[in-house]
Structure formats: C-alpha cells, structure tokens
C-alpha cells in the first residue's frame, strides 16, 4: 500500500500551510531517567545531548522579540535534567509566557542520572512558577504503564502525582494545570479522548486519590524506537495500513505543525518534534534551513511544512498532537 502522506492530502484536496507560530517547543536534552519502549526521541540515561546556554538565551530572546509566540513548551528527554532548566523556566515566566513542561513524573523521584542530585524540589518549583505540567501516563493501571515505560514506573508516577496534587496541581480553583498524556501500548489507535479522560478521572481518584485536569490522547509515531519494534515484530506494514485507512481530513486540518515550531538542542528548527528526531530540518522558501541563531519570524511562518509517512500518525482517527486529539 502507498503510505505517502502528501498523496492523501492531494486526494482530499487539502493544503497545510503554517497558520501561526504560537508555540515555541524546545527539546533541551535527550537525557532521560527512563527508557520507554515507544520513545520517538530514543531518550535514555545514556544520552548526553544538551542545549547550550547560548541556545537557551537565544530562545528567550526570540520570545522577548515576538510576543505573539505566547507559549513555551519545554521537552526532552526529561528536560528537568538540563542544568539550565530552572533558569529557562524562570526567565520565560518573567517574560509573561505560558510555560509547559513535558514532565515524566518519575524524574521527581529518581536521582539525576549524571549527578545523582535529588529532583524532589520539582513540584514546589513548578507551582511557584505556575508552570503547566504535562505528564505521560499510558493507562490508569500498572500493567500497560509498566509495559511501556519500565517496571515500577506506574507506582512512582502515582506518588509523583500525589506530590503535584499536594502543591495544588489538578485541584479545582488552583489554576495549576496537570494534564496527562495517553499513548497506546502498541500498534493501535487511541480511544476517544473524552471517554478515556472520564475513565482516568474516576479510576485514579477512586483507587489512588489522585486528581488531574485533562487527558491528551496521542498516537504512537512510526519512527525510531517504536518503528524498530514494529519492524522486529512484523507489525510495521499493518500499522502503516491502519494509519492510512484511518486518515481523517478534519484531523489533518488541525495538525500542530501549523501553529508551532520545534527547536532541537543544537538550535536547528523543525516543523515538529517528530521531524526533529528524523532530522528533517525546516527550511524557508529559498531552501535555507531555519535556526534560532538567525531567527526571522516571517521566514519561519512562510516555510513549507515538510511531511513524511509518519505524518499519517497525526491524521489518523481523531488526530494526534502534543495537545491531544485534533478532530
């Protein structure tokens, strides 16, 4: 079967130019305390890529110069393991930006893989800086969660969520948002977001007394570590067929690459975190790669988004983005 994404767009009569740059998503490190089986970043305790202090300063300068970029989305790896993480958050908040941190929960409880330092300060730090916390929890039970993220991760995640709740995260009226992310634990599509969110809320509250705000359902992208697993188990072709068969034009209209840019640890700019991991650099109309070190808003907005077969993951069924379903 032909898995070419742009063929699907042409068949559906859809064009997807960038609409805005509302979010600067910055991947500041591939270092992580976990090594999840589906991770598109191939993050692990063995990775060492880090954004330089100059890179972080440049991102802050971009935010300062462009108030229309209202959100900073900090991701990794586990971004909290970057030595400049706290300063980055504090300075972005001082610029009045909404800051989101892709926080894997267990990083609160594991010692820093390189320095051994305790990370238990994080819930209080997040609350003080009024950061939106976005955390992966593949299911409200141990079985799926540990299968995807490693033995013991579910128990630690619950403990970490309790610590966030104690700071007010997920508690009504606190204004402190804790949003969870669901990923399928295999080559299948996510369930309907609203129904699954209701299940999560009911079960996590009843069994563990844990609260959160929203659930984002995200489809597994057929790249890197997850792709390798699919190849090894003979499931890549059927998974790609499934994504193709579920192509949804309405989901395509809402893809996140139309409203964000993704920055790699070395300052290069991409259309999304997935393109970043595939090293598909974003380029301006003249074909010149985009970088934070010579950032020009109009060049970024005028770029042509680069697509590949992995984009079928963002347009299948109800759609998928870093903020969950798109249709």
């Amino acid at each position: 079967m032909n898995h070419d994404f742009e063929t699907q767009l042409r068949k559906a009569g859809i064009e997807l130019p960038p609409l805005a740059v509302e979010t600067l998503q910055v991947n500041i490190t591939k270092l992580c305390n976990q090594q999840c089986r589906h991770c598109h970043v191939d993050a692990s305790p063995a990775r060492s890529e880090m954004m330089s202090p100059e890179g972080i300063a440049k991102c802050l300068e971009i935010l300062e110069r462009h108030p229309g970029i209202a959100k900073l989305d900090i991701t990794g790896g586990a971004p909290e393991l970057h030595p400049g993480f706290r300063g980055f958050v504090e300075r972005a908040r001082a610029l009045g930006r909404h800051v989101m941190v892709r926080h894997n929960l267990t990083v609160q409880l594991d010692p820093h893989p390189q320095t051994g330092a305790s990370m238990e300060y994080l819930p209080e730090f997040f609350a003080r800086r009024r950061v939106e916390v976005i955390s992966s929890l593949p299911y409200y039970q141990q079985y799926f969660t540990d299968a995807q993220r490693g033995n013991g991760v579910f128990g630690k995640s619950i403990e970490a969520m309790k610590r966030l709740n104690a700071q007010g995260y997920g508690v009504e009226g606190s204004g402190l948002a804790l949003n969870l992310v669901y990923n399928p634990v295999g080559p299948y599509l996510p369930p309907a977001q609203a129904a699954l969110e209701a299940d999560y809320k009911r079960e996590l509250k009843a069994k563990f007394g844990v609260l959160f705000n929203g659930l984002f359902t995200i489809t597994n992208m057929p790249i890197n570590r997850f792709r390798l697993h699919l190849q090894k188990t003979g499931q890549l072709e059927p998974y790609m067929d499934k994504l193709l068969a579920a192509f949804n034009p309405a989901a395509a209209e809402g893809v996140m690459c139309r409203s964000l840019i993704s920055v790699g640890h070395d300052g290069r700019i991409y259309d999304c975190d997935f393109n970043q991991m595939l090293e598909m650099d974003a380029a301006d109309r003249d074909g010149k790669p985009l970088s934070i070190f010579d950032f020009d808003f109009e060049r970024a907005l005028g770029r042509r988004i680069r697509f590949g077969e992995h984009c079928l993951g963002c347009t299948a069924g109800a759609g998928s983005s870093c903020g969950g379903a798109t249709a």
């Binding site: 799926f144 634990v185 299948y188 599509l189 996510p190 369930p191 309907a192 129904a195 699954l196 299940d199």
Partner: protein, 111 residues
C-alpha cells in the same frame, strides 16, 4: 496455502462481496451501524461483547480484530478477560443445563 485461518486473510473480509455483492453491502452497512457507533451501548461495551462471542465461536480472525478493538476503545485486560469468562461460563452453563434433559430421561428409564 498451507494452513486454514491465514492471518492475512482478515484483510480480505471485504472480498466476500465478490459474489452477491448487494448482500455483502447490506451486511457491512448493518455491521458498521451496530459495532461502529455509540448507541444504547457504548462502542467499548459492544467490542467486549464481540470479543466474548469471538471466543465462544472460536474465530481467530475475530479474536485478533476485537482484541485490538477493545484496546482502541479504552478497555483493559481485566475487562477483556472477564468478557471471555462470561463466554466460558455461558458455554459451561449451556452444557450443564442440558443435564436436566439427561436427568428427565434417566427418571423415565430407571425403575
């Protein structure tokens, strides 16, 4: 073909319309309306029922398809296994309730 029940044959389900296409079309429309929508039962509940029937009817195609369907509708392994147990106890019960027939006949035969 070396075996019955080739897993790749599941993809060919639509080919039942190669002959008597109108009837196949009617079936697939009915199938989609029943299983593909939330009604008085949710799609998850319907997927769990279908998983139980798949086991009762011992259909390997359906077991694969509805295991995936259950996951795509947010079901968990406990719910899925309970559904299979429902199929199992129904089959056991159906077998056992026939022993009333045996006992009735036994009563007739025994002096």
């Amino acid at each position: 073909m070396s075996n019955y029940y080739e897993s790749n044959d599941l993809k060919k389900f639509g080919a039942i319309g190669k002959h008597a296409k109108g009837l196949a079309d009617d079936f697939f429309k009915y199938y989609g309306n029943v299983t593909g929508t939330d009604g008085a039962l949710t799609r998850r509940e319907k997927a769990l029922i279908a998983l139980a029937v798949s086991h009762a009817q011992k259909c390997p195609y359906c077991i694969d398809a509805y295991t995936t369907q259950c996951l795509e509708n947010g079901a968990n392994p406990e719910q899925m296994m309970e559904a299979v147990h429902v199929a199992a106890v129904m089959q056991a019960g159906i077998t056992l309730v026939h022993s009333v027939q045996m006992q009735n006949h036994l009563d007739k035969l025994v002096l």
